[in-house]
Symmetry: D2
Subunit: 338 residues, 4 copies
Amino acid sequence: MVSIAIVGGSGYTGGELIRILSAHPEAEIVDITSRQFEGTPVHKVHPHIRGTDLVFRNKKPSELDADIIFTATPHGASMKIVPDLIETGAKVIDLSGDYRFNDIDVYEKWYGIEHTSDLKGVFGLPEIHREEIKKTTLLANPGCFVTGAILSGYPLSKAKLAERMIFDSKTGVSGAGVNPTTSTHYPNIGDNVNPYKVTSHRHMPEIQQELGAFSDVKISFTPHLVPVIRGILTTNHCFLVDGADITSEEVLDIYKETYKGEPFIQILEDGEIPRLSSVRGSNYAQIGCFEIDETGRLVIISAIDNLVKGASGQAVHNMNIMCGFDEKTGLDFFGMHP
Amino acid sequence: MVSIAIVGGSGYTGGELIRILSAHPEAEIVDITSRQFEGTPVHKVHPHIRGTDLVFRNKKPSELDADIIFTATPHGASMKIVPDLIETGAKVIDLSGDYRFNDIDVYEKWYGIEHTSDLKGVFGLPEIHREEIKKTTLLANPGCFVTGAILSGYPLSKAKLAERMIFDSKTGVSGAGVNPTTSTHYPNIGDNVNPYKVTSHRHMPEIQQELGAFSDVKISFTPHLVPVIRGILTTNHCFLVDGADITSEEVLDIYKETYKGEPFIQILEDGEIPRLSSVRGSNYAQIGCFEIDETGRLVIISAIDNLVKGASGQAVHNMNIMCGFDEKTGLDFFGMHP
Amino acid sequence: MVSIAIVGGSGYTGGELIRILSAHPEAEIVDITSRQFEGTPVHKVHPHIRGTDLVFRNKKPSELDADIIFTATPHGASMKIVPDLIETGAKVIDLSGDYRFNDIDVYEKWYGIEHTSDLKGVFGLPEIHREEIKKTTLLANPGCFVTGAILSGYPLSKAKLAERMIFDSKTGVSGAGVNPTTSTHYPNIGDNVNPYKVTSHRHMPEIQQELGAFSDVKISFTPHLVPVIRGILTTNHCFLVDGADITSEEVLDIYKETYKGEPFIQILEDGEIPRLSSVRGSNYAQIGCFEIDETGRLVIISAIDNLVKGASGQAVHNMNIMCGFDEKTGLDFFGMHP
Amino acid sequence: MVSIAIVGGSGYTGGELIRILSAHPEAEIVDITSRQFEGTPVHKVHPHIRGTDLVFRNKKPSELDADIIFTATPHGASMKIVPDLIETGAKVIDLSGDYRFNDIDVYEKWYGIEHTSDLKGVFGLPEIHREEIKKTTLLANPGCFVTGAILSGYPLSKAKLAERMIFDSKTGVSGAGVNPTTSTHYPNIGDNVNPYKVTSHRHMPEIQQELGAFSDVKISFTPHLVPVIRGILTTNHCFLVDGADITSEEVLDIYKETYKGEPFIQILEDGEIPRLSSVRGSNYAQIGCFEIDETGRLVIISAIDNLVKGASGQAVHNMNIMCGFDEKTGLDFFGMHP
């Protein structure tokens, strides 16, 4: 049994951490912080979480005493508190972008703020970095788009088969967080599709870093907001390197082989295509399609729940690995279709 | 041809006024004001309105020169400018609640602000007040819930047949206006139903005023926010006065007779039930059902588009009446199903 | 550990039974039947259920060998197989309407078919019938609307305080089942609200039977289809018996007292109002509001997930009671907001 | 004034033809046919169309007497009746795929049925084929995806600048037609995104035919069903031919020049991005973005209403051209945002 603190727990990822960890047999939440909601019982903010004694506290990092600390704080805020949290002796799982980049310059360019922490995080995609995750005390949990995109492209990049991948992603609105904006106003996004940051979303360099570590694949990424609450459907339009004379079936085999034994990867075949409802609320990622059209375009499609496999579920998965638990502990539930 | 100014034209009702008036053969918009968007072309705020020269101006009331002025300003703001607008010689159609109440005390109680204007408006529901509308220079356009509720109950109240009406209303989110809030945040209202102000919505006294003018009918009203962009579906659970031994067919006849010749009322029969898509985008109100259950409950259902018949369309209808135009001018288009 | 068979498992309630029972520590699904999908792996029909060996079989009732058999079969079909299932020695939990009625005549009138079985079921609402449920071998799981309505009204009817209840229910589309129809076609119900069977829905007599067992309360019921996948929000417009001079606070107390210790009832206070997202995917029912307006109308609002507390979750709850398990076994997870 | 007949008018495109033509000052609908709904008043099928005398008739082609006949009949059905309709002396506007292909073999391959008519249609995209449209008596109205895709790519193909275009399209569910299916069942597509026919949709060869007429551009196309009623948002991921050293601004200029004077094309600049709500219900197409990322990918985005610019509105536009009317007649209304 490990003790858990959640820093900045009033957002959607905070709510999901509580939802998941409440049913985790090896974890107990001992603290949850929020400056804005200090003193407020958790159910007033997360109306589905009831019957707990949890109340938001406004504690300083040094006041926290927990084995594992999740920081569900905004970009820029995490790096200001993570060093102090590490000082307490806790292992830290940071859900912000602050510790995801190998190259600080890339971070500073895309996030537009100075990086002020010397700590290095391990990029928390278990399917790629499991061994480093086991040993780290600072885990940088990947971005939601990033998770969906990388999972759809990793086997091909690793096999040095891909020249170019164009990730056309469709995301649910919860990815924008808990604060209402013009973009998330129901009359603006209901019955609508809104492309945004078409060539300039800051999840792009993160995808580039991870997939580019294996090959020279060129990465393009365009997100679209769709009238969906949860989920990211990524259509990876992929072009192979010259001379890669490979069939659909062979691509499928590469994916099955690469993800063999992965507890949360579901490879779809026999004409099944990933869709959001199959993974809704769960930590599973579905990957499928593997069709090649007459122009040589290969299509790989992935579906995840942005708040679970794309955030809090993956964070718990990482915790399980860091603590030596069975990886599916607390995450062994199916998606919710319909 | 009349010249039109719209004061406070950056919200949804402003957008709808432009959409409708742009195709109105007897009207020309000469001015549209907004403090926030001064100098901004209209299409930057209303992305569907293009190819016009309209630019938001920050003009004082006294600077406006138009035959008809629509005030799409918030409650409380309208009463501060309407007297000056009337001074310019214009006829004013106010879309706020400021001039809807016969009794200022009722306004002050429900809106919680002092009423500072001496002017009296005519309550702009053409189906009840057509003759006064023809003569007025200050038209108080009814609230959206109010329009749907009154239309469903007016014939029975007028016939002194109803003892009690319970209006259970389901509204689209555009009724909350253009500004994003926690309630209108897509992840909070998508796939959800949220009752609010269950016994305390300020449209209640407005319904009471209008239906109570004809009989002692008791009025209850509860609104629900549903994941819909436009439209209000009102289920009027109605109980008749003692001794009112009346059949479904007779109720239907009363409605047909009361609304005979009304250009925007569609009475449904033969098992057809009003629904939002039938009136979406149009100025029509559908009224139907007229069923009586074993406990004596009579159900009347109405459907309107809250932004059209519930706001801007009705405002243009009132303008047509005030100007002596054919009432359907500029409003003679069907709803948009699907 | 009990062995489970699911008869007619290809619909939504079948999918939910599998989703829930797969994580139930005391249950193992040994058989799942479907005539239409014989030989098909479960994930081809329920795309979220993966990694199991479950395959639909077309077995006769007498071929099933399980401790508990859930019949997720249509009305009329259940009564043809349940007697044979009982013969196998299994306990049967029937999700259809066939065994819900004390009075066969009521069933035959509202369902329009002859009732051909002599068996009597126990009405499976644990909050009312727990003791009988413990002893029965034939459990009639309540209808979805019925569950939401009864829970909102039971304490008042039991206290003989209510003269009349008008249930205005808003249901998600999954309540219509897995088969596409004109009503469930996305363009027809998206962005829409559709009242149906306004005074003639067959869940009405079921509500009447249960609430009418405690008092002479008059029951009215009107369902509305809303663009939601899961959930039923019931607005109970309630009128008290003559002389019942009772306050909001006293009503709240009655509800808290009546549902004291109930594992799946959440009574909301302090201005919180039930909404669908709070219970989405969970077996909880939220009950709240308790406001009384100036006309004496008392409003009680309940929210459930129609497929869980309104169907499969409640069925598992009943199984837990029938088997003597802790009642929350396998159901101890929160709803999914957002 | 021209007389109009609509053959097969019970679907969504039939409904839209009536909605639009009812307000068209130069057109009068004299006949509307449907085998299934013979004798039924139009409002029983199209609940928003009221106050007309229109009743569905089951007439043979030779019995129709109209200046313009719209065939809103399925693929395969059109070619069986169009020759007889042309025989009556009418001009025919066919909304099916039957007459869209220059090469019958392509049609037969992709539609899987034999083509049995000798007539040749003119492909009815006014922005490309206006001059031929003016002269034809058989107009083949383009497919919905096709319209959105071609408009986004035509200027570049015409300028021989594009080597490859990948059309990633997101469509509203009304594109699937009026008949309910598993795919269009609300619980299956609500809160979901479903890619389908990922590399094999039959609108692909139609796009190929039209864009390939100008250059050797390679075409890929993948449609996604999104929880939207109307609209197609097409993201055109475009790669330029070798040596095409061109800026965003130059691309924008090419689009503005190519579509100069086009009454229904709206080119967006200054950071505005097309979205569905801006064109909802209207015949406008929005085209925008024109951004180039670091890998050389150029993104063009288009938005149309699939039932209007993608079907019935474009058909009326074509009628206006064929009849010599002002092209905007009856189509001069804005989209409906929100």
